[in-house]
């Protein structure tokens, strides 16, 4: 499918708009000029007709067309002026020499409302004609006594006066040609100028393209700087694009870190297994020694299995492929159950656990296994990261839906980076394979939070107190 082009659209738009404007303008000019020229012609016709009308006279008992004598005496006018006068009482017709055998149509206007029309003679000559009905004028009053006078009212006349429109039409044709040339030239110029302006305006987009091309896929620092000359209209789009690239870059970086960390977490114990077994087979050993070394390899394998299980859980939770089995869960009992597992470590680290219960036991409708993941990880983190001999405080409340708050004083009062704490494999130190903490726990908790109806929050306090809270919704 052909993609819409801004340049093509703008060029076509400007061209068509310009053509329309020019067409309307040209039409207006042509029409005005035409009206003006024909108006002038009509004025001439009216003036001439009024003058000629006085030249139909009654002298004694004779009706005279003096205008004809005038015409015959003026060769220029006799060729140019077309006049016909009908005596409506007798039906006689008097024509100017220019008409010859041709006839003008009757135009029965009156002096107050002269009838004007464009007519075409049978030989094709185009004329502008004006006509009025009139009464002859009386002349020769001195001869009243001698001759019996004709009465004008008995001899109504119809006079039609016409002039050729050739000169006006030629002028109008010339104007039409000029206007057509101007219109075509204007449209062409507007196309070219529009094209140039659009190309100049769109140049920053091409520059943007070049800049984007230069950015490496993994290079978060290679993001383009906005030049000062960048058009205002494109700044918003470019900024949004830059922000998007930055976000993608961050996600890519996180993904890369995740892969690298996962590789590290799996490769290091694998290297441990390989090295242990290689050393075991290097020489003959006692059965006891073999057992000891194979157990060591087995221990590492167990650790790897746990990690793989956790990664699988994380993947399932993130892809929402975990089936949630909701049931009534006693959170207090769940905490005690998980604490029992951690008891040896709590003792070895001389930790004191303070339990504070508000109200009855907290019972919620949730998935027991998934909720266990959160509780177990939060408790294990509290036990592992507490300063030796300090207090772990667990507050369980069944009020307003219920909440669990676990707080502990972290080692050396060095709080973790709260912005990154839920990232998979995030730990204070880069290395964690030996400490039994892969940095998956809190990421797993966050993934569980997304599928269960609860809220998980962590925050640090100024005295090195790390607080993690689970809030359950009110039913």
């Amino acid at each position: 499918m052909r993609r819409p082009s801004i340049k093509r659209r703008l060029t076509m738009g400007i061209g068509i708009l310009m053509m329309l404007i020019m067409l309307v303008g040209s039409f207006a000019i042509y029409d005005t000029t035409r009206d003006s020229l024909y108006g002038q012609l009509d004025d001439t016709l009216k003036t001439s007709l009024a003058l000629q009308a006085t030249e139909v006279e009654i002298v004694g008992n004779v009706l005279l067309n003096d205008w004809l004598e005038d015409l015959k005496n003026d060769p220029f006018r006799s060729r140019r002026e077309y006049v016909s006068v009908w005596d409506l009482s007798t039906g006689e017709i008097v024509k100017s020499p220019a008409l010859g055998r041709l006839d003008l149509p009757k135009l029965p206007g009156d002096p107050a409302n002269i009838m004007i029309e464009t007519v075409r003679l049978t030989d094709g000559t185009k004329l502008r004609a004006a006509g009025i009905q009139l009464l002859p004028t009386l002349d020769g009053e001195g001869e009243v006594d001698r001759v019996k006078l004709l009465v004008p009212e008995d001899h109504p006349q119809l006079m039609v006066f016409a002039l050729e429109t050739k000169a006006v039409d030629q002028a109008l044709n010339r104007l039409l040609v000029v206007l057509a040339i101007v219109l075509l030239a204007s449209v062409l110029i507007s196309f070219l100028a529009g094209n140039f302006l659009i190309e100049t305006s769109l140049k920053p987009i091409a520059n943007l393209e070049e800049r984007l091309e230069k950015i490496e896929a993994d290079d978060a620092h290679g993001l383009f700087e906005m030049p000062k000359t960048f058009p205002l209209e494109l700044t918003g789009l470019a900024e949004k694009y830059r922000d998007l690239l930055l976000r993608i870059s961050k996600v890519r970086l996180r993904e890369r870190d995740f892969s690298a960390n996962a590789a590290h977490e799996l490769r290091t114990p694998l290297a441990g297994i390989l090295a242990t077994l290689e050393q075991t087979l290097l020489m003959d050993r006692s059965p006891e020694e073999y057992r000891k070394r194979l157990n060591a390899a087995l221990g590492i394998t167990e650790g790897m299995r746990t990690l793989v299980d956790r990664l699988m859980w994380l993947s399932k939770l993130q892809n929402r492929t975990v089936k949630i089995l909701s049931a009534e869960v006693n959170v207090n009992a769940l905490i005690e159950e998980r604490f029992a597992i951690l008891e040896p470590k709590i003792e070895s680290r001389n930790l004191i656990v303070q339990r504070i219960s508000e109200g009855e036991d907290l019972t919620v409708i949730s998935d027991h296994s998934l909720l266990s993941i959160i509780i177990a990880n939060l408790l294990q983190n509290a036990v592992s990261h507490s300063e030796e001999g300090t207090i772990i405080r667990i507050e369980v409340s069944s009020k307003r839906g219920g909440k669990v708050v676990i707080s502990n004083e972290v080692k050396d009062r060095k709080l973790p980076d709260m912005e990154r704490i839920f990232e998979p494999f995030y730990t204070e130190d880069e290395a964690h394979s030996d400490a039994g903490h892969s940095g998956i726990g809190l990421a797993l908790c966050k993934a569980v939070e997304a599928v269960l109806d609860l809220r998980l929050e962590v925050h640090g306090e100024h005295d090195g107190l790390f607080v993690s809270s689970i809030y359950f919704p009110e039913v």
Binding site: H264, L266, L274, A275, E278, Q279, D429
Partner: protein, 226 residues
Amino acid sequence: MRVLLVEDYTPLREAIVEACEQAGYAVDASGTGDEGLWFARNHCYDVIILDLMLPKVNGLQILMDLRKLGRGVPVIVASARDSLEDRIAGLDAGADDYLVKPFALKELLARIRAQTRKTYEKKASLVEVGDLKVNLTSKRVHRNGEEISLTSREYSLLEYLAFRSGEVVTRQDIWDHVYNYYDDASSNAVDVYIGYLRKKLGGGEAAGSYIQTRRGQGYLLEFSEK
């Protein structure tokens, strides 16, 4: 030869230490970056095996710190990070070699040997001093075609002298390159082992022709006929 291993994963660290010691190297091992850096800064090593993702101070920082101090000790990075960027970063930071986990211990040992040969400018893995032949790969010593059985410490001492054959080697040099940080040897331990070695290389006058004592300076492994 003395090796420093900085690796935080205990099972792997223990296996590498064992393999290196069996290969006759004196090994100092550390599980944290800060301790590893302390060892590297304050002791002489022929090779350092360095993990990158370490607690406290990471491997790249250790590497850059050492190079900034002008320490040219060969460093083999042994890391689970296998991307091209990681390998380039490691080598650019001053590593001499980069080994991706998991690896075979045999390969690691071969790389340690390659680095030590490079340090002492021995391109072949066989050092010959007169009719004495020291095979750096098989760790076997022959004289006149006959194999001489040596203890690990005796071999280490001979190997170090063989690497520096033709040069006078001080007792301190031997101490720095043949013993590890935790070896609690008496002050004349070097002399004692030189004595053992002389005896095994042939004894009496004949042995004296390989390891010569330069009074007030040290020892010299050089063949001289009597």
